[in-house]
Point group: C2
């Protein structure tokens, strides 16, 4: 049964890999720069990955089993973030030395998003009121900064103001994560706002999610405006499915699933298989030299979206795409020798960086997707116990 | 004769490609975003590429032939830069709209470097005293900013201060470009400083040029400190050869050539051929996802360095490497159908972006290298008229 594939991968492969290799017992926090074998090759600490890992272990503790080792690993990250993560204004640094000295200033808001996600789950796990308060404080600080998230580090002059998809997308998931620590009306308002932003604005008439739009929501014919990030769009759609399920909104659910399928049709590499990392909607050369690479998180988010879609609708189209992405991803990304998944394949589907973690890959997309797919397949199997 | 290959490529292929496709007759300046066929696919203007192209046409006018069309094309860029390139402090923007409205603020110093190079050559071509003064002013502004080139956009906290190779390297070439507009003692002092910085500091004991060092010149065991950019190191070495030739310094010449050979040994892809874009000196995964790509400018700079080295020494090792890089580069980068060179090959050597210009590729490395190789081969052929 497929649910077992994901359960086993999560509990016997992926989580043990991070539990064994990533804990900094001397200075707290986590190492994220791990070789294929799990050896630490650099000790810098990227704050958003610290948040993501602390979130992951807290989440598993809350949702899977009250395993004290998991909570201890979560605490190791939470303590490090509380001690070293913030500047004097409560903004989170981008990176720190192993010891926790700040290296890169708070020049964007994503460190803060993942820190508050971690605080929310950890507070839920432990009942720690101080951490709960910190989660709330950080959340409201994000909202306050959201119209100028880069602050003084913003290099754009404003002559081509663009609204960006990342923050509304993250907020749509973040607010559900923080449900236990935020007032109900704030959660509901933010959910409604996010759905409007994502589905009525960033979802454009061609059925694709755009990364950047003019302030009035129209298409900007510029490098930024033409950019399509299929993984981003697909990930946002399973956040929308979660909201649809919660609100029992079938229309939203169907629309989100349709966007997943549109994005896969658009973003699938017909020659070598796999989903492109970046595309220009007009077919022009994107600025990103890595545009044709196949990234772990893109494929994992697609597996989650498709497994959820199939579990909620039973629609064959979702199943066909699930199978296609599954066959591509599991044979190429999963490292049979050393566990966990490779992060970066070239267009042809071979790993051209064999790291298990670095500046962008940490303990997050792989275990989160394993958990989400496991749960979706449990649902699928209970719907139709003999199939799939 | 090889000199003819380069002469023909420069005068009948590369320069006509840019003269025909890149001139913005309506708003001034140059389009750099050109498809494989030379069609404009985006009209944003990247200031450093404006400077590079205005420099290139001025340089050809000064060094090859007083072709009025070239001077007019140079003027088109110079006028645009003067009118739109600078903020109120004389710092150059990173990018502008087609019409010249600023898009991205002056967050680094490279726009300024290439603007001043252009002003220097253009002033030499025309005797324009205002442009000459602007070249000097911009040059001294660069020197003033060089200890904090990113100004308020610097995201690094200073807890891991690093000295970076780019600026000393560019200055070593820039100062020769500005020779006609700077006082002799400034030129000589800057040349001596640059040679010391490049050859005594950034050239480390293993015979390679490092991109970033600790302030005291020692190795920093960090992502930035471990980074080797073979193309950068090789390009800097032909700047050093030019200085060695000027100073008649055989020791410097031999040392620079040895570094070129070291870098090629280190940076050559033994499996697929070509020179890697980025490598980690310890063999760890670099942060750059594009690390294994083969870039046009890296190979062109290697051709220049090796042709110069061979023309100055007649050493067979230089010739063997020249042949190897030549055979790799000319068969893969040169676009037989539409002229000019491709910019970006994947590791296997196939173009994965077929653009002729974009945010980073403009009218610079290809024509400059064609000119430099042509002149080096003229020298080689006059040394030994029957060979090569």
């Amino acid at each position: 049964m497929r649910s077992n594939l994901y359960k086993t991968a999560l509990l016997e492969n992926v989580i043990p890999f991070w539990s064994k290799n990533s804990i900094d017992k001397d200075f707290g926090g986590y190492f994220s720069c791990l070789t294929r074998e799990g050896k630490v090759y650099d000790t810098d600490k990227f704050v958003w990955l610290q948040g993501r890992q602390a979130w992951m272990y807290s989440y598993l503790y809350n949702n899977l089993a009250q395993n004290e080792q998991w909570l201890e690993i979560a605490k190791n990250g939470i303590d490090f973030l509380c001690k070293h993560g913030m500047d004097e204004n409560g903004n989170f640094y981008f990176s720190l030395t192993r010891e926790g000295e700040p290296l890169i200033s708070p020049y964007n808001i994503f460190s803060d998003c993942f820190a508050t996600m971690a605080f929310g789950q950890y507070a839920k796990a432990t009942g720690d009121k101080q951490i709960e308060e910190l989660a709330r404080k950080t959340y409201y600080n994000i909202l306050e900064r959201r119209n100028n998230p880069k602050g003084k580090y913003e290099k754009s002059t404003g002559n081509r103001a663009l609204r960006n998809f990342s923050l509304p997308m993250i907020l749509s998931n973040l607010v559900l994560e923080l449900e236990s620590v935020l007032p109900e009306e704030e959660v509901n308002r933010r959910i409604d706002d996010s759905v409007t932003e994502v589905m009525d604005i960033f979802l454009q008439e061609d059925g694709l999610i755009y990364e950047n739009l003019n302030p009035n929501g129209s298409f900007s014919d510029s490098f930024e405006g033409r950019l399509i990030n299929p993984g981003h769009g697909i990930e946002a759609m399973w956040f929308m499915m979660d909201i649809a399920e919660r609100k029992n909104d079938r229309k939203l659910l169907d629309k989100a699933i349709q966007v997943v399928l549109n994005t896969l049709e658009f973003g699938w590499d017909k020659e070598y298989g796999g989903i492109f990392y970046f595309l220009d909607v007009k077919g022009y050369p994107p600025q990103q030299l890595e545009w044709d690479q196949k990234l772990w998180w893109v494929h994992l988010e697609a597996l989650v979206a498709l497994a959820k879609a199939y579990s909620l609708t039973g629609d064959q189209k979702n199943w066909d795409w699930y199978k296609k992405v599954h066959d591509y991803a599991w044979t190429r990304f999963s490292d049979k020798e050393n566990g966990e998944w490779f992060g970066y394949l070239n267009r042809q589907g071979e790993p051209h960086l064999t790291l298990k973690g670095g500046k962008w890959k940490g303990c997050f997309h792989v275990p989160r997707a394993m958990y989400q797919c496991w749960k979706a397949f449990q649902q699928i199997e209970s719907n139709a116990p003999t199939s799939k």
